[in-house]
Amino acid sequence: MLVIVKVGGSVIRKGVDTLIREIPELLNNGHRVVLIHGGGYFINELMERMGLKPKFVTSPSGVTSRYTDLETLRVYVMGMMYLNKELVSRLQGVGVNAIGLSGVDGGLLRARRRESMIIIDERGRERVVDGGYTGKIEGANKDFIMRLLNDGFTPVIAPIAMDIKTGGALNVDGDQALEVLSTSLTPNYAVILTDVDGVLINGKVINKVSAAEAQELFKSPEVRGGMKRKVYTAAQLAGRGIYTIISNGVINRPITTAINGFG
């Protein structure tokens, strides 16, 4: 069985002990695991420590989001690769032959840079500005990952992609990385680990959805922010026939629990 797991930054922050302990168990049972991680919170901490102010932009529709200028990108690469090596070290410590990669390595994740964007400037006027260093992933190097898996490695992938045009690093969304990798590798399960028990609707946990239900959830006002992105990812993958689970990553045996809960 192949399982692709996105480990959210919230899980890394709260502790990955139970997750790390579970991986050798899964591998010993003959399963194969690909990990993708986040870590936005750590980038914020690092920027603060370096005396850098995070930059934000407001879209015409009023949505405020982080702006990845070159300086932010540098801190992003440092911070994400640090977390990547931390995870790899932890896995090596329990006997898992992990290998940490960014999307730049071996052209693993290829993305198109957002070249321009419209913002509302300080004077309240709309303006086109450079899109900074974020990208939309267009493809994954499937052969490379399959070869690593066949050779007994456990890939640990940072949310950094390679600019198709320049080879440069780009900030990409971890959930999008999960989506593209899952579409390409067609795993038995795609698991999104966060620090909550799935999606809460009317106080009830929803962690198993059909494609149609996910589309519905996506429109629900109770599904907001980062969770909205996850439900969107789940809907996309479910639509392609891949079992997708949003689950709690800080409990015991988080992956097995997620998969069993799906059954």
Binding site: R66, M117, I118, E126, V129, T134, N171, D173
Partner: protein, 58 residues
């Protein structure tokens, strides 16, 4: 006295504010077409816009 440039779609005058910045968006008051202001060597030109709107980055 604000600069005026003709709309490429309907021909109406589009007023460009004096404090306009490179990259700013202006709309035709008649047909609503949006343009991006391009300032090069002090010369103001209008470019039909095409901007991506998607989810980006972590």
């Amino acid at each position: 006295m604000p600069t005026k440039i003709s709309c490429q779609v309907c021909g109406a005058d589009i007023e460009i504010p004096d404090d306009v910045l490179d990259g700013e968006l202006v709309s035709c008051p008649s047909c609503g077409q949006k343009y991006q202001v391009v300032i090069q060597n002090g010369l103001i030109q209008l470019k039909l816009i095409k901007v991506e709107e998607e989810d980006w980055g972590e």
